[in-house]
């Protein structure tokens, strides 16, 4: 029986049972920490008269400390058999723990007055035990959280004292998708945020280090985790796309999973042969990936909305409001506007439109549905260079007016429901680089025109009911 036990203990392939018990070490180890520190404190406290009475009972605390240390040491040993932890730190942690066990056994007997040591020996021993607890405990923290854990959020001066570099600052502020590097700006940050807390140089779960491209491609104890060009054979991709309660799912242990965007991006990157560097745009990303990256990095086409614009002058607001427009500010602390004419009982005049031009820096949404806007008026409207949404539905405009809109390069949505536009669409629409949604129901557009448009602009959603 004991031979079997020894065999299990010293063989290379620890059974699951040992690992099962070993995982209780982080739980159990807190007991000796508590008991022993309490015992040390109790011993020192007896210097004061009022605590003298407890002198004869402190050995019970030592006994509890000894027993719990005993279990902690063995469980710790079982846990170390998993091989998941940094061997160097384990060496010090292990022997520190054993030393604590031996010293606390000694002090147990001292406490019971069954042995005694010369003069200040007691105090030295007590300090020694306390010091060892802090040291061994700190080593334990390093094993599970990494040696930089305590300094992660420390102010930079303290970080430098500890010999760490300043806090990692993200790569320079990206404002354009063209500057995005596929590994440095996209893949690596995902690894840093979600994976390296367990997969780094010190704590290498599964023998896998994800802090650099080369170690990522090297893989871990199950071999390579990225097969360039083949995401379905890549174990990393497999694990992040498993159901969250699967035992192989990553990140594990209840840590926050990757978002849909992050997973999709990693899959796409693998399929593109997992390059270690290079501009995202050079890899021919499709619309989904571009939108994905825009979302992840906050780059959206809404970039220009981050510019500060001045509030329009009061006279202009008054004039437009008196002439039928409702002006809405669309965000806090900035003055991008919507001008809504749809609820007006007044008629749109050329003067009013001229006034609109005075706010062309601020105006991004314009709603003229059901108004008397004419083809001629569109000449001016076409100069509202920042328009993102333009609603001309249920108006009399036709191809003549449509041509004037071709300079609206920021336009994302164009509503031409129940208007008289037709063939000119083929000329004008392809010229609108940012157009995402086009409404053509009940207009003079035909199936042919629509299918031609769809061919020329892949990412454009055209809403057209053919009846």
């Amino acid at each position: 029986m004991s031979f079997n036990l020894l065999f299990i203990l010293f063989s290379d392939n620890p059974s699951d049972t040992l690992l099962f018990f070993g995982r209780f070490h982080p739980l159990i180890v807190h007991l000796p920490i508590g008991f022993l520190l309490l015992a040390v404190l109790a011993e020192f406290s007896t210097k004061w008269k009022k605590f003298k009475p407890i002198q004869n009972f402190i050995h019970y605390i030592w006994l509890l400390g000894v027993i719990s240390t005993f279990f902690a040491v063995f469980l710790g040993y079982f846990l170390s058999l998993s091989g998941d932890y940094n061997e160097d730190i384990i060496f010090w942690h292990k022997w520190g723990g054993v030393a604590i066990l031996i010293l606390s056994i000694v002090y147990y007997f001292i406490s019971k007055r069954q042995i005694s040591i010369p003069v200040q020996g007691n105090a030295i021993l007590l300090f020694g035990i306390a010091f060892l607890i802090f040291y061994t405990g700190h080593m334990g923290g390093n094993l599970t959280h990494g040696s930089t854990y305590l300094f992660e959020y420390a102010p930079n001066p303290i970080r430098r004292l500890a010999g760490l570099p300043n806090q990692w600052v993200p790569r320079k502020n990206l404002t354009l998708i063209d500057s995005v590097d596929i590994y440095l700006d996209l893949i690596s940050p995902i690894m840093d945020k979600r994976c390296i807390s367990c997969h780094n140089l010190e704590k290498k779960k599964g023998d896998l280090n994800l802090t650099s491209f080369s170690s990522l491609m090297e893989g871990g104890e199950s071999g390579k985790i990225i097969i360039p060009g083949d995401k379905s054979s890549s174990d990393l991709f497999r694990r992040i796309t498993l159901p969250a309660n699967h035992k192989d799912f990553m990140p594990t242990e209840g840590k926050q999973p990757l978002t849909g965007d992050q997973v999709a991006l990693i899959g796409w990157w693998i399929e593109k042969n997992a390059p270690s560097t290079g501009y995202l745009t050079a890899l021919n990303p499709n619309k989904e990936i571009i939108d994905n990256v825009n979302r992840q990095l906050g780059l959206d086409d809404f970039n220009f909305l981050r510019k500060k614009v001045q509030p329009p002058k009061k006279e202009i607001i008054d004039s437009l409001s008196n002439n039928g427009f409702i002006l809405n500010v669309l965000m806090k602390e900035n003055y991008f506007l919507e001008a809504n004419f749809s609820l007006s009982k007044k008629k749109l005049t050329p003067n009013t439109i001229e006034t609109l031009l005075q706010i062309k820096k601020q105006l991004i949404w314009l709603n003229l549905t059901g108004s008397n806007v004419s083809d001629d008026n569109l000449k001016k409207i076409g100069e509202l260079e920042r328009l993102m949404k333009l609603n001309l539905s249920k108006t009399k405009i036709s191809d003549k007016g449509l041509t004037h809109l071709e300079k609206l390069e920021k336009l994302e949505s164009l509503n031409l429901f129940r208007t008289k536009v037709s063939d000119e669409l083929i000329n004008v629409i392809p010229k609108l680089p940012n157009l995402k949604r086009l409404y053509l129901s009940e207009s003079n557009a035909t199936e042919e025109i629509v299918s031609q448009l769809k061919k020329s602009k892949q990412n454009l959603e055209i809403i057209f009911d053919s009846n």
Partner: protein, 482 residues
Amino acid sequence: MSKYHNLMQKPISRREMLEVCKGGFGSLAFMSLFGVLPSACGGPAKSTLEASSLNLGPHHLPKAKNIIFLYMDGGVSQVDSFDPKPRLTKENGQDPRKKFKVDATQFDNVGKILKSPWEFKQYGESGMPVSELFPHIATCVDDIALIRSMTSQFPEHTNANYFLHTGSGLQGRPSMGSWMTYGLGSENKDMPGYVVLDGGLIPPGGLDNFKNGFLPASYQASVLRPGDEPIANISPKETIKDLQKQKLGFISLLDQQQLAKIGEVDAVESAISNYELAYKMQSSIPELTEFKQETKATKKLYGFESDNPHTRGYAAQCLLARRLVERGVRFIELTCPKVSADRWDQHGNLKEGHEHNAHAIDQPIAGLLKDLKSRGLLEETLVVWTGEFGRTPFAQGSNGRDHNPSAFSMWMAGAGVKGGTIYGRTDEYGYRVIENEVTVHDLHATMMHLMGINHKQLTFRFGGRDMRLTDVHGHVIKDILS
């Protein structure tokens, strides 16, 4: 200064504010520039607010300007609508207690596992499964973001209704629509900013579901009910037009005098603004409900030509909702049509009950989505379809299903929502949520986010606290946003 002035916090009079407001809820920002305190211009005034607590207007660029809330009162069964569970078919007729822990139910009449009486088919480019109950809505799945992991905290209608509508299971809090109109105002001065289209059944909990709570009284819903008059007393009773004007003028004079005496009091001011709005509604409401201008094709799309009178009724409600959106009404809720007094609450006769309800709403809702989309309105409108909780995967009695707040399905379509997506998962029985739970607070936070409101920043000081619709909970569900 009146003798009550030290009890009032209002530093500027409503009259002064309305004078400078020309229209548009965004005029707020301008007004503060010109040294005048902002208010929700263009809509009911909010004069009892402290200026500093104002955080009104959109906080970030909105996707939606209006919300249409399609309320499926009573609790639609998720496993029979949008969340297929083959396990139920496999284990039909077996004792659920032997399979999983069964929570207490309202009627304590736990029957056998009950498979869905309806088949599921996959639709659209996304392949979203929808049951036979909703063949028309199924054709719109590519515009729909389905959430299968909704949970509620309350298993009973009244509390669950209050929770869904006001963010609290207790009576008396402001409803979603009140918060939205408080936060964003309303563009149309001739119409209320918050309208409830009453299909015949007010949800359990009553009109408190649509009230303003501690927000100023002008933010409560206006309820339109089909009948001779869409709103009671909307047509003037006076035979001489001027007579009504004189009467109202006199009342207004008295009210102003009262205001001058006691200072600004919400009840009086809201009453004044209500009179003014009501006067305008005498012409705007009849125009709204006049469907003559709508084409035959449009009416057919909604279901006006259906044999089923309930479908026709709900079709009219949906068309009305679209027209309200066109007229700038901020929040529109449709209650459940009066197919039966049970609403969707099929404790018995699941098949018959759900089928009758589905038949009434399926085509009109699909028609609404399609019509909004053609007109380019869907990109500015958020359509929300939800009940207050789900139903049990095991029977109540022999052929019903009891309440299940642990998991239910709902969907959203329109502005800023990623169509053709499914968010969240329930277990194999459709009983509990196992992935990506969405609480009612999360739903509210997301709805507000799409309207441009940061749910944590829209507050109102009451009882010494800065209250929110989402209380201290809720996070925006980013995965379903496009």
